[in-house]
Symmetry: C2
Subunit: 464 residues, 2 copies
């Protein structure tokens, strides 16, 4: 039953950096999974609405120590790299790709293997609070469709991309599209197949056009995928200006930056997701902003593989759309709450610099730090805006994608002291220390799809 009324305290960041505490509010969810109303405590009809919902058996009351958060939006995940999570990070990027990552991704020709891994991945991410996921799959049609099916079956909101990579100079012979024509044909069939799995503009699972990155694709394929995006209205995702090598490669091939090249091929569109974008110029940021594209900031992976930090503050100041990505498995954590912490640490280190031998004013980049509320906005409403989805906050018209957080759960590293902590403190403590032990229920589209409460919790409260 999706139709329900939640009573309790909710934290969200409806605008960048602005925490709003909805204390003892009622959140009214309709049968289509959308929030129809948020009724503040003290407003005229609050008590009557609560009593009515209780009478109708539609009331879900949060317990002591429980609060509601918007679900997390992970903009950048390499689904096939899930078995590699947390290993092989001590090697350089080239070794990581050639020795570990490409051979692993090639295994997804085996759809049974793919189903095993992808089911574990999707349930693991849901348990960590990821209600919307943007996935790179592999070049394989069947395995990529299996991922889309698993997302639908497990109730995770998702964009799933079959990866396009056809350039024989840059892709290994055992793992690439045969040529641009087959890659295009398969991408078209993949889009149709995903739309058949999950029909309708309001579907939970969408296809996304996914050229791996410029170096792995021929001009012919990039141009064809740009036309396909215009024709189908599919979103696009790719990597952008991630590393020194990648940036130089694209400049040598085209004499322009990644962002400009993508724009030229028709791939820089409304809600195109650009992973990383560490080496973008101010002009690139203006172009990304003008086209309505978005950046998936992946601070942990950038520390390991890019040797650079995305200029987040500059992007935010220019109103570029930005959200967070775990970049599994270039990043080793499946938790986007961890992602908030990494974004905070990266921002602090970017501001403070890394060489104590330099004077203070030459060490870092002024005003690069972000606040806890900004980090959380990136992981929720920022990610939603990046994708053009009504998620990431509690407001009428938004989808009810939410986390029921229990700060008193067994195994919690969040410690709240009622005499000492204001609601704002509790919010910060959750963002900085909550983990999957604290995530009691996960709702997507109004449906309970996971959490530590499991089936028992779902039966105990009116939640499904």
């Amino acid at each position: 039953m999706r139709d329900k009324v939640i009573f309790g305290t909710a934290f969200h960041t409806p605008a960048r950096g602005r925490l709003e505490v909805l204390r003892d509010a009622l959140i009214v969810v309709a049968g289509d999974g959308r929030i129809t109303e948020v009724i503040a405590q003290g407003s005229g009809d609050h008590d009557a609405a609560r009593a009515r919902a209780a009478e109708q058996g539609r009331l879900v009351e949060l317990g002591a120590g429980e609060v509601l958060l918007p679900g997390l939006v992970d903009l950048h995940i390499h689904a096939p790299q899930w078995p590699q999570l947390g290993k092989a990070l001590d090697v350089p990027l080239e070794v990581w790709l050639r020795k570990h990552t490409f051979p692993l991704e090639a295994r997804y020709a085996d759809v049974a293997f793919a189903r095993t891994i992808y089911d574990d991945l999707v349930s693991g991410l849901v348990a960590n609070g990821t209600t919307t996921a943007v996935y790179f799959a592999t070049i394989h049609m069947e395995a990529s469709l299996a991922l889309a099916e698993i997302c639908r079956a497990r109730g995770q909101r998702a964009f799933v991309g079959k990866v396009a990579m056809d350039d024989p100079d840059q892709c290994p012979p055992f793992y690439r599209d045969e040529n641009a024509a087959t890659a295009l044909d398969e991408m078209r069939r993949f889009i149709e197949a995903v739309r058949a799995i999950a029909p309708g503009g309001d579907a939970l699972v969408h296809p996304i056009i996914t050229p791996r990155f410029i170096p792995s694709c021929t001009d012919e394929l990039l141009a064809a995928l740009g036309r396909l995006a215009a024709e189908t209205g599919c979103l696009v995702q790719t990597h952008c200006s991630e590393s020194d090598w990648e940036k130089s490669f694209v400049e040598q091939r085209f004499g322009r930056s990644d962002a400009a090249v993508l724009a030229g091929f028709g791939l820089l569109r409304q809600h195109t997701v650009l992973a990383h974008s560490n080496f973008v110029s101010d002009d690139d940021l203006d172009l990304i902003r003008a086209r309505g594209a978005a950046v998936a900031h992946c601070p942990l992976s950038n520390a390991y593989f890019a040797e650079a930090v995305f200029p987040l503050r500059e992007a935010l100041d220019r109103n570029v759309r930005v959200g967070l990505g775990t970049d599994i498995s270039g990043g080793h954590s499946p938790s986007l709450l961890d992602g908030c912490r990494h974004a905070l640490m990266a921002g602090r280190m970017r501001q403070g610099g890394v060489d104590a031998g330099l004077p203070r004013d030459r060490r870092g980049v002024a005003d690069a730090r972000i606040t806890v509320a900004e980090a959380f906005w990136l992981a929720t409403a920022g990610g939603g805006e990046a994708l053009g989805l009504d998620v990431g906050k509690f407001a009428a018209g938004c989808k009810f994608d939410a986390l029921r957080i229990d700060v008193e759960a067994d195994g919690s590293n969040v410690r709240v002291w009622p005499d000492l902590d204001e609601p704002e403190d509790v919010f910060q403590k959750i963002v900085l220390n909550a983990g999957r032990a604290n995530i009691r229920q996960v709702w997507v589209d109004g449906v309970c799809v996971g959490g530590t409460a499991g089936d028992a919790g779902q039966r105990a409260s009116v939640s499904r």
Copy 2:
């Protein structure tokens, strides 16, 4: 019962950066909590020793998915700041100290308050795998003794320091020692009292002489505490060259660096623990090394409050003793496994730099990164060496301080794929993704003192 034999696979890093996998080994623990023997699988008496231990009811067999790690050694914790964990990090250091931290620490005049907080702290750290903890308490005698008592009662190996801070120019009137003479007298009585709680050179809990940092102490007090260290043989801890402000303050007051000033007062001794040390020079490192002192590297807190990164690689290259600290609550995580991840991320960012606008060779510090095995060594054997303790590895003569890790625990973010993962991969996955949900049992000195298995687990296996 401390006397036991553990059968299973153990990971440890007995030397810096060198992972050793003890596959299906037997670890023999005597009644005094020390390891007497590590018997490798395949060695002549392995099977007989295992059978004998089983007959005697002394065998603890690790289950499928379980491995043994050395316990974690946290070199820098501000115990009274526990209620502040994960909050108030968006303010500058001065505001953090004056508005939040000093008023909070002043509350520990109330020993009942102290007992409540400290009990929660110690049990929380044990649950996160911290088997040895080095604590700053507060200026209060009773509350600081309560912390020592709680560590002993809960079985955590600990160094507990009553904080000395007497300079009226730098300490607030509501939170400082009356003068150098009273501070010295109380420190002497504190040492005696802790030694009475836990007598003997092999005791679990030790006092540690703790001048807060040079700016908060008068010359008279620093000199007196140096003499007290020589007289009592107590270890010393303090902060060293943490921030631009602090470094400049000490240079202006003494015309020398923190390390040199501490040496001059007799406080830079064998196993003195220097928190942070971000702004140490090469000469400082040589001095620290020559005196046998150690650095508590606190990468997360440094990102938030120091705007600098400790030159870890340089220190390791000079064979300075180094371990890790969470720096609760300047760092927001209570987990020293998290601390490993922060040290790894800080090392990567130090190498890669933070300003993508600079050319590669001018962005960071060459070779600053560390490996996963180095990070784990810092958190275990490195910390043990810093303190002069026989802990942090599995070897005859070492104390049995260990964690029973279950990679298949409910809520685990460690995912192991037997067909794909070598033991080295499992080790990396644990260091990068394990959390308290994975910590099934925690042993200190051969005694089970915590873990998710709780009393049931303790009863189920022969472990206490």
